[in-house]
């Protein structure tokens, strides 16, 4: 009887192949992307009176099921995404044991060749970020008050090294999405000479917009547009 005989084994074999893992990365990547967009919109409320974003965060907390639902989905996605990417990365290392003395790139984007740099940097960022704003355990900017998200953010960014790190991370995110956002279509098997070039262009635009959106916040704080209350 073939290994495909019982359900889970068959599906695990899907995950076994490089193409399968890539599909998983695409899906999880897309989920993470979705979160990023939502998160950005939420964060942009920082430009409105403090109450706005504070209420927003209170509102999120008042719906634990939704909150934890999303958190779990996110967590699972991140874990799968990372797991896959590292598993594949190990394969790639093994697939070319002897490196070229000279290697030129004819055509590819910088972003596409550095996914394994941008990715982990984003990860490092997220960890710091959680400690920074979610748990408040690392909040050099000043006292952390989980009921005053507005202040947490502003004081957090007033500590300039932290802001710099954020900005770098956002640039990495930009690269990661620049390639990732079209790559996921390719990985999932959608392609067409009429649409693919268009998808590639939009991926770039969206990635840049997202980065600008996020980066604007620490910049605004450092520039003094947004002040603590």
């Amino acid at each position: 009887m073939s290994a495909a005989a019982n359900f889970p084994v068959a599906r695990l074999r899907f995950w076994d192949t490089t193409v399968g893992k890539k599909a998983v990365m695409a899906v999880t990547g897309f989920i993470l992307f979705g979160f990023i967009v939502g998160h950005l919109l939420g964060n942009l409320q920082i430009y409105e009176p403090p109450e706005k974003i504070n209420h927003y965060s209170e509102m999120l907390r008042s719906m634990p099921s939704l909150l934890w639902g999303t958190r779990i989905i996110l967590l699972v996605s991140v874990l799968l995404h990372i797991w896959a990417s590292f598993a594949l990365w190990r394969l790639q290392r093994a697939a070319r044991p002897v490196a070229y003395v000279k290697k030129a790139n004819l055509h590819s984007t910088y972003a596409s060749r550095t996914m394994m740099w941008s990715g982990p940097i984003i990860l490092a960022f997220v960890i710091y970020h959680l400690l920074n704003f979610t748990f408040g355990t690392v909040h050099p900017g000043g006292p952390f008050d989980e009921h005053n998200v507005y202040n947490n953010v502003v004081t957090g960014f007033q500590f300039w090294p932290s802001s710099v790190f954020y900005i770098i991370a956002m640039i990495m995110l930009c690269y990661h999405l620049h390639h990732g956002l079209w790559s996921m279509f390719q990985s999932l098997g959608f392609t067409h000479p009429a649409y693919t070039p268009w998808i590639q262009r939009s991926a770039k635009v969206v990635a840049i917009l997202i980065a600008i959106g996020f980066i604007s916040i620490p910049v605004a704080v450092l520039a003094g547009f947004i002040k603590p209350v």
Binding site: F14, T17, K102, K103, L106
Partner: protein, 257 residues
């Protein structure tokens, strides 16, 4: 013109290998790159030195036998050109060129610039075919095929199995080669019956051979002497994903009597 070559010399698979420097004077612009190496080798033999080993056969860009890296570019990096079809008019006096073999765990070096690409054959053997015993199949015109599909099939079928895609890919992935065959047969009505099995079998064999994954970087497409398009990789991914999710256990109840 006069060229300086740094050529990878490696006696056999076990040997570690190193770059060796050669001066090649009197290169004629009408020579092909391989003819330039022929001339160099003739000279080496006369000096009693071991000539440089490189694979080649048709020298027309169709057999897929030739191929090595020139300054880090597979086949030299000229659009739609195998190294046997690459002519010296593209180089200029005093150029320094680095020649290295395809580098991939699945392509062990045989000698110097010659590698072993049998892994490609095993991938085809795993499923890169249509099972049709020799006999009297239906008339060639029995099933009309849209010209567009025939053309797309042909585009993918043009692959010469040279391995440049693997060599050029930063991940040493064989996605373009494998997908080209999957795409070729998937575009034809005759290929439908085995479409799922083919995608599953070929991708699994590709992984067994130690080829890494594709991350859609696209260097392969740029290096491919037959200009196989990245499109085929997506098509193959789609086939694999569909096949993997709809895969059923092989029927085991044998026919009786």
């Amino acid at each position: 013109m006069k060229l300086t070559l740094h050529v990878w010399r490696q006696k056999n698979e076990q040997d570690r290998g190193r770059l060796v420097r050669y001066e090649v004077p009197g290169v004629n612009e009408h020579m092909s790159f391989l003819e330039m190496l022929d001339v160099l080798n003739e000279g080496l033999i006369e000096k009693g030195e071991d000539p440089i080993a490189f694979d080649h056969d048709c020298r027309e860009g169709i057999c897929g036998m030739c191929g090595f890296m020139i300054n880090g570019m597979a086949h030299g990096g000229f659009k739609g050109t195998t190294v046997c079809q690459l002519h010296m008019r593209h180089f200029k006096d005093g150029d320094e060129l680095y020649l290295e073999p395809w580098r991939a765990a699945a392509f062990p070096v045989v000698k110097d610039l010659v590698v072993n690409r049998s892994s490609f054959d095993r991938i085809i053997a795993a499923g890169g075919f249509i099972s049709v015993p020799t006999g009297s199949p239906p008339d060639g015109n029995a099933i009309p095929i849209r010209k567009q599909d025939a053309d797309l099939a042909m585009d993918a079928a043009a692959c010469i199995g040279c391995g440049a895609c693997v060599a050029a890919c930063p991940n040493a992935a064989a996605a373009l080669f494998v997908s080209a065959k999957i795409s070729h047969l998937a575009h034809l009505p005759q290929g439908q019956a085995e479409r799922d099995r083919r995608a599953l079998a070929m991708v699994r064999q590709m992984n067994r051979e130690g080829f890494a994954n594709c991350t859609n970087i696209g260097e392969c497409e740029a290096a491919c002497p037959k200009q196989i398009k990245l499109e085929v990789i997506a098509q193959a991914n789609a086939d694999y994903i569909k096949a993997a999710f709809t895969e059923r256990p092989e029927a085991v109840s044998g026919g009786v009597g």
